[in-house]
Symmetry: C2
Subunit: 103 residues, 2 copies
DNA sequence: TAGCTTAATCGTATATCGACGATGAACGAT
DNA sequence: ATCGTTCATCGTCGATATACGATTAAGCTA
């Protein structure tokens, strides 16, 4: 029995952290939260990035499961997935709890 | 006055998340926490990575301020910086708090 | 001093990220 | 049908990340 930690075990959290590891994506999440209601490509107007780049970041957040995107006619409406955020919050709290109890 | 969010504002948290965004680094942190006391290159024996790679990950964690490394004779002793973890925990909690109050 | 251990760094190769212009696809309006 | 709007995707490019063998540096021991 090897006691090498199974790195796969840490992949979900690592993936989530990766999704949060870009200032633009944090700004997008914050914006979505502030709007309360879902907003769309209006994010593009507000971000200092091209439409393509914003779309790319939205895709990353969506693939990470942190936001949902629903097509509404010609536009797409993005919204924070609060359940997913709550789960991630629990995971990070569990991690930090362990780490803080060290030393 | 533009209402474009200042992305620089999000950089510190993004940087911290980046440091957490690799399974090996999460495993190292966990290991450091479990040991309670500081450990050294024994991490290398335990991780499924080369000594060079582990050293690289330790460097990333150290540069992110999440761990400290002190040289003790021929070895280096790494330890979780609980204060830094606590600060990061606060930051993420603040973020998640805002995000969860959405929709 | 010579040899061993430990760990950082170098050099290299590959993969992924991030940005953006250009293009395409879907839809609504005329 | 044609146009305009909205947004996703493609293709490309430079930068960064990751892994690892090889080397170096530092310290201990004999």
């Amino acid at each position: 029995m090897s006691n090498k930690p199974n790195l796969e075990k840490y992949e979900p959290l690592a993936e989530a952290c990766k999704a949060l590891s870009h200032p633009a994506r944090l700004a997008i999440l914050q914006r979505l939260a502030e709007q309360g209601t879902c907003i769309c490509g209006e994010i593009v107007d507000v971000m200092p990035l091209s439409q393509a780049s914003v779309s790319q970041h939205l895709k990353v957040l969506k693939q990470a499961g942190l936001i949902t995107g629903t097509i509404e006619g010609p536009r797409t409406c993005y919204c924070i997935d609060t359940k997913a955020i709550a789960r991630l919050r629990k995971s990070t709290e569990a991690l930090f709890g362990k780490l803080e109890s060290c030393c």
